[in-house]
């Protein structure tokens, strides 16, 4: 009844090309932003900021980065965590080595560094496709983490590559308290999400998707495969790099190279599979799901073991978690390959017809 596009006639292509052509969607997103920027900082507790909201935003950003590469440009990567690592370490180095470097500039430079490394490891994509490329991205995963561990220069000579980041200051204001860090992360993520949405709905995004869907045809209509793929690698790595920098500076405070393991890369991959491959919204939904699932299981499994009178120890819980993750991935790929984002869309379409189901 309330969610309708009838009566909202588009009188110009400009109106039709807005990000949210339906008025209710525009209102919805406004409300969401108000809640995120105003209400949440007022009501959320430190636990929520530190354990849920900040990691959620950062992983959404990383998932968005992977989604640009894998979901939009069709180049499967198993090395996202390594690009996060590049971002984290680059930001750290810019901060400690360059006197008076503004933190935001460090984040941007971190993203750019990651983009450069991304282009380097994207070069094989010009000659190899599909699985071969996926395996090749593992080279980035292992090589980068190894470098960060072994070259003391990269971690400012700290032992085994562990870095502890300095405090954050933006324009002379300290961002130490959880809600301050949350707001900083939120602002960056919101801005980059908007930029991603804009890219994927314009020529850039169409070129990516064209290469993904049918590379020969893309070439024939004049899309340059090399530029398009490398741009996807660069932009994707930029997003992952910034996410990594935020991960170190605004979430953990201290990171080590092994923290950016293959498992983390898989986690990010799972986020886009569950959330929706090739969907900006899906990156957020997937990140939320994959982050909340273990928290939920941690609460649910002990309860279940109580009810069933079965003793679950910690190891069992972690094994069940693995199984649930694996099963979920297969489930989504089988039942809804477009993930939660698609379910959301179907839900909206149903709502449009409500209360008359046909």
């Amino acid at each position: 009844m309330f969610y309708r596009e009838t009566g909202q006639f588009k009188t110009s292509y400009a109106a039709d090309q807005q990000i949210f052509p339906i008025r209710q969607d525009r209102i919805g997103i406004m409300l969401l932003l108000v809640v995120a920027f105003v209400v949440v900082p007022l009501v959320a507790s430190n636990y929520w900021f530190n354990a849920i909201l900040i990691p959620f935003l950062i992983f959404s950003l990383a998932a968005l980065g992977l989604n640009i590469l894998t979901g939009y440009a069709g180049q499967l990567s198993l090395g996202s965590a390594a690009f996060m690592a590049v971002g984290a370490y680059a930001a750290y180095n810019f901060q400690v080595r360059v006197e008076g470097m503004p933190i935001l500039a460090s984040f941007v430079l971190a993203g750019l560094t990651a983009a450069g490394v991304g282009i380097l490891f994207g070069l094989p994509s010009l000659r190899i496709k599909g699985f071969y490329l996926a395996v090749a991205t593992l080279a980035a995963q292992f090589f980068i983490v190894w470098c960060l561990t072994k070259f003391p220069y990269l971690s400012n000579n700290s032992s085994s590559g562990v870095i502890s980041v300095p405090g954050i200051e933006v324009f002379g204001m300290k961002f130490d308290a959880p809600q301050e860090r949350y707001l900083l992360v939120l602002a960056i993520v919101a801005l980059l999400a908007l930029a991603a949405k804009n890219m994927v709905r314009s020529t850039t995004g169409r070129a990516w998707m064209a290469v993904r869907d049918m590379d020969v045809a893309a070439e024939v209509i004049g899309i340059r495969l090399m530029c398009t793929k490398l741009l996807a690698f660069a932009v994707s790595s930029f997003y992952c790099g910034v996410a990594g920098a935020l991960y170190a500076f605004c979430y953990l405070g201290s990171v080590e190279p092994d923290g950016f393991s293959l498992d983390l890369s898989f986690k990010i991959l799972f986020m886009i599979i569950v959330g929706g491959v090739g969907s900006v919204l899906g990156s957020f939904l997937g990140a939320a799901f994959i982050l909340l699932l273990p928290i939920f299981l941690d609460i649910f499994l002990p309860w279940l073991s109580g009810v069933l009178q079965l003793p679950f120890d910690g190891a069992t819980v972690s094994h069940i978690q693995l199984m649930v993750f694996g099963a979920l991935i297969m489930f989504f790929l089988i039942v809804e390959p477009h993930g939660l984002a698609r379910l959301w869309q179907i839900g909206k379409e149903k709502l449009r017809l409500w209360p008359f189901p046909h």
Partner: protein, 260 residues
């Protein structure tokens, strides 16, 4: 017909193409004149598609020369071909399945759009202006092909006949000088075929687009084309206006020999 057939725009000389031991094309020469409809026919596996692929650089022939608008080349480059205004459709539909009809057509115009990714990211003046201007052009193609109702549908969900039409649309969106069509009517019913024929004739007539067409339906070929090349086992066995080709004994033998 009002259109005037012009001079030679594309000249293929002694093209030979091999895949390992398979000789797909052997020493083929023919030319295409501006504004004409040029058909390529021949039995299955004759090398027709390979010929189109050579013209726009998807395949690189081992021997021969391609003269395009007076420019001599060993082979074509897909990007150069697209920039020079050669657009095409494929025998097995090669649309971007996950994209909407509108996006497929917009992608067809990508070469005409100059804004870079940063301008896109921030929806900066030129990016937005360009998107609108080209949307207008694309809507003209959508009108022409009568596909307004499926504008926002992902092409993967469309029936075959409509997909073929959208693929033509993507090629037309580029406002090509030469249009290469690989079996645009294959697998269509009579009505769809008639529509497609009309589109092809209209494009040729109203926009003056030169068309190179592969088609198995002899009725259609003889009806709409100005000149016909006949290939068989990678060799050229006939070339001329439809009536000439129809009475060429080698062509008749090739077609009787390999019944479809």
């Amino acid at each position: 017909m009002a259109r005037q057939i012009g001079g030679v725009i594309l000249d293929l000389k002694n093209i030979s193409l091999r895949f390992g031991g398979v000789k797909a094309l052997t020493d083929i020469s023919f030319d295409v004149r501006e504004h004409e409809i040029r058909a390529i026919i021949g039995p299955n596996g004759a090398g027709k598609s390979s010929m189109l692929n050579v013209i726009n650089g998807v395949y690189r022939p081992q021997e021969g020369e391609i003269i395009f608008r007076g420019e001599h080349r060993r082979d074509m480059d897909t990007h150069a071909a697209a920039e020079a205004g050669i657009a095409r459709t494929f025998q097995n539909i090669a649309l971007f399945k996950g994209m909407t009809v509108l996006d497929n057509l917009m992608a067809g115009r990508n070469l005409k759009m100059k804004a870079n990714f940063l301008q896109h990211a921030f929806w900066w003046g030129p990016a937005k202006r360009e998107e609108l201007a080209h949307r207008r052009k694309v809507e003209e193609v959508i009108d022409f092909l009568d596909i307004e109702h499926i504008r926002k549908t992902p092409v993967g969900r469309l029936p075959y006949g409509l997909q073929k039409r959208v693929e033509l649309g993507r090629a037309l969106a580029a406002e090509p000088q030469i249009l290469l069509l690989d079996e645009p009517m294959a697998g269509m019913n009579v009505e769809e075929k008639q529509d497609m024929c009309r589109f092809i004739l209209d494009v040729n007539d109203q926009l003056g687009t030169t068309i190179v067409l592969i088609e198995h339906d002899m009725g259609v070929v003889m009806d709409i084309s100005d000149r016909v090349v006949v290939l068989d086992y990678g060799k050229k066995i006939g070339d001329g206006v439809p009536d000439e080709v129809k009475s060429n004994p080698e062509v008749i033998a090739a077609y009787l020999g390999t019944q479809h």
